[in-house]
């Protein structure tokens, strides 16, 4: 398990990195925390001719908050997990990130790398979908803003980033005061990729649900669950509404199978976890959280 031959550069600025990406095009791969890329290299499943190591680019690592949250792409998952700015405004992120692998992996792994890798069983893409996030992608030619949906939507282990583009920033809007969140995941062991998981954000109007966002993972790709969300709007929070949403969620989830579970099982789990995430979300509205 040794990688095939590649050349390597370690730029110290975004501009420099973008220049290298423009130069090497599809032959290049960005190396962030390496927690996904290095195993792929060692298994020789990825054989880039050139590695652009962005770990020396300090300006890509930051957390800033003024209600909405801005995360530099190179911010380590542990930094996100431990950030008070993150947990005070977006505790769902703190919780979700704690499910990513183990501490050693989060110490190296980055939020941008996790998103760019877009593993369908990963927490980050579905979470950012549910949070209506957007990202900045830069290339030598310029800069563009993409919604999380545009970046990862319906995609399996790939994104809409061009070969010459670097993901630089992730922006997450502030949550409404009357909103609550739930995060439910089932994995074989703690820290494993999920068998299935659901991130839920709901806004309440008294006892009724005024809006709901559901991001699901563990299937063919990270997905919002619009049918289930629609069924929740205007519904009274409670077992009946959660069960109905769960049924729709299961039906619309882009399921898949692997050694750890069949399509049918994962579909069923999304239904169960949707119900549980909603129960959690509606019990912690108004800033309290579990």
């Amino acid at each position: 398990m040794k990688p095939a031959v590649f050349s390597y550069s370690a730029p110290e600025s975004i501009e420099e990195a973008l220049g290298l990406l423009a130069e090497h095009g599809s032959e290049a791969k960005v190396l962030a925390g390496g927690q996904s890329l290095v195993p792929l290299l060692n298994f020789r499943l990825a054989r880039p001719a050139h590695i652009v190591d962005i770990n020396g680019i300090g300006e890509l690592s930051y957390i800033s908050s003024n209600g909405s949250l801005r995360l530099g792409a190179l911010t380590r998952l542990t930094a996100v997990e431990e950030s008070g700015d993150v947990s005070s405004g977006h505790p769902i992120i703190t919780r979700a990130v704690s499910h990513i692998g183990h501490r050693a992996i989060r110490n190296r792994g980055t939020i941008g790398g996790s998103l760019a890798h877009n593993d369908p069983a990963a927490e980050t893409p579905a979470l950012l979908l549910a949070l209506d996030s957007e990202v900045t992608a830069r290339s030598a030619g310029g800069e563009r803003t993409l919604s999380a949906q545009e970046l990862v939507g319906d995609r399996f282990f790939e994104t809409s980033l061009g070969d010459d583009e670097l993901l630089t920033e992730i922006r997450i809007p502030a949550l409404a005061a009357s909103s609550g969140w739930g995060f439910q995941e089932l994995s074989r062991r703690h820290g494993d990729f999920a068998l299935a998981g659901v991130a839920a954000v709901v806004t309440m109007d008294g006892g009724a649900i005024s809006s709901a966002a559901l991001g699901a993972f563990g299937g063919a790709y990270a997905a919002r669950l619009p049918e289930a969300e629609a069924a929740l709007v205007g519904a009274e929070a409670g077992e009946a509404a959660f069960a109905a949403a769960g049924e729709r969620a299961a039906a619309e989830f882009p399921t898949t199978s692997d050694v750890h579970g069949s399509e049918e099982y994962r579909r069923h789990l999304i239904g169960v976890l949707t119900g549980r995430a909603l129960a959690e979300a509606t019990s912690n509205t108004g800033g309290e959280n579990g």
């Binding site: 398990m1 062991r189 703690h190 169960v272």
Partner: protein
Amino acid sequence: MTATQSTGWIGVSAPRREDALLIRGRGRFIADVSPAGALHLAVLRSPFAHARINGVDTSAAESLPGVHGVITADDLEGIGAFPTVWRLPGQKECHTPALAPGKARYVGEPVAAVIADSRYIAEDALDLIEVDYEVLDHVVDVEAALAEDAPVINEHMGDNVIIEYTFPGINALGVAGDLDGAFAEADEVITGRFRIGRYSGVPLETRGLVADWDDLRQTLTLHSESQVAHLLRTELAAALGIPETSIRILTPNIGGAFGNKWDRYPEDILVSLASMRLGRPVKWIEDRRESLQATVHGRQQLQEWQLAVRSDGALLGLKGRVLSDQGAHLHSVGIGPAWVTGAAAVNQYKIANYHCDVLGVATNKTPNSTFRGFGGPEAMFGIERMVDKAARKLGIDPAEIRRMNMIGADEFPYFSPGGAVYDSGNYPTALAKALEAVEYDRLREEQAALREQGVRRGIGIGSYIHVSGFGPSAILGMLDYYTGGYEGSTVKIDPHGRATLYTGMIPMGQGTETTLAQVAADHLEIDIANVRVVWGDTDQTPYTGFGSAGSRSNVAAVAVIKAIEEIKAKAVRIGAGLLEADPEDVAYGDGRISVKGAEEMRSLTLAEVAQQAYWGHKIPEGDQPGLEATYVYDPANFTTAYGTHVAVVDVDVQTGKIDWVKYVVVDDAGTIINPLLVEGQIHGALAQGLGGAILEEFVYDEETGQLLSSSLMDYLLPSFTDLPDFEIHHLETPSPHTEGGFKGMGEAGCFPAGAVVANAVTDALSDLGIEVDETPVTPARLWGLINAAGG
């Protein structure tokens, strides 16, 4: 333990002397062995489950700069392969070749090897080897392998049945029981069909080798992690066609072995041969993917049982068929584990009438061979599930049906119809103690109350026997097991009175160095700091054909005791001369040689006598100078460890996930040398047993024959967060079969674990009528059962 202590070392929780080294990172593992000028070997492995190899073109690989050589099957003329040491009558020969000759039979089978300046270059060269594979139909399911039209994996065998071995269920007089009568008399016949999953030791440290051939001296130094270095030396000499006197095997620290490293492997030959042919040291470290594909697997069986029971709960007769999924070749121990399953299946119960057919079946998978437990956990799964099924059918409590059928404390030695003689114990007491520890009656009440609240709690019981201390060599001979079961020990007292002990055992985490030092200190009545243990060098240590296994310290310990007895007797003879006393009046005690009754006045230290022994000035007639002895102990009989485990679990019926509530172990391994290490061994073995019960599985794709669990992302090892707290209690019934009373204990922890979990989960879901008959009990598998039952 700072104060020195001269007596009572047996039974003391001495901290492991190995630990300081390992914890401080000063251990030395194979990867740390890097002779100057070493080359690196990488193995090309078959990507197909079954494929004819019509040609191997190595020219591009050979011309890659940095490549020193490529070995293919064509280069192995005159080179042998390792035999199967267990050769049961009727067993067809299909041992593992060094390189797939003309045909690859499983994914991961070695096809060629490259030797290069670095592992990187070697792997680049593997990419350049062109193999002309002709893909053949494969079979990975054991029943499918038995079908008429199944692809035949080893053509010369005619079909995929390697052996069909029958246990006729004979009693002590050699007479078979009345099985038909038992089934005719039965009020109920309980049936069970069990699929025991394929998993293995998966040691954290993978295999590795460094071979160093010295052309001028004509010697091969092999650094290896083999658990049985002497047997490897013998077999390697035969395979390579060089004198055994030319080979020295050195064993560094081992990062886990679990039986997997007992076997001899193709790479042992390839790496040695590469060094001999290239005249350079050659190093190979197995990577994780290779380890999962090419280090032996274990366990996998399909069992079918029928149990004849009377309505009062009496177990009258048991008959069964065990299909052992052997993989493509027989490895070092043949179908040994499955044989043990047949021998142990009646467990702790007085089932007088027994019959079992064990079939070894070839499939296109990695060979299934030695793994901690060695057929025992498989046997326990079958019988302990059957007993639970019988209890449920008859409306008898599962604890009660066990108790009433257990062999009584006064019935030893007990001749089991599986063929083993159980030496001693108190099975009902172990069960009672386990039930008491979990507060069984209260637990049952609580279970009913929780059920009302929608919580599904299950209680699972599993009792076990572990026939250990393999074994009297003569009996191994009768079983066609071509190696000995003895263990030797050399003890040398130096002129300062300190002891050095040489053992063929290989410490691989079980604390052998500490326990053997304890036994020596105890019997010499000196401080443990004055005992050094030498291991891991075939040039220095006594020959062993059985070597280290989790349950061998009991045999090795007796060899130490016997060698020390000889030393003490000689010290007394020499000391008597020095003390001018009759040897009859002199005794050894407290590390001194003294005239009985005048210990204060007429007494010499061991050091004083040893000094004299080496000066040789006053050696008694018939004795030689020096103070050392070697004893090779061949056990008189097997020892039988046993116990009962109880698990309490909660099951989430919506997801199929299991939560641990409690896990209690009661075991009896005879006299305990070191309680701390015993506890550690139980923890480790139990983790391994529970790993196989809920997480660990080698999954093969039926369609493609690929091993799907080929990384640690898909092959799931348990960590402490996945395991319950273990509550451990002991009984201590010294074995009458061995000096010292020790029984083997390094494996027993894993024995009932699978059955206990399956019984607990079945109990939790009793209202749904679900029977958990397959391991591992994964959430997906369990939910499948729940869903099918309409839960």
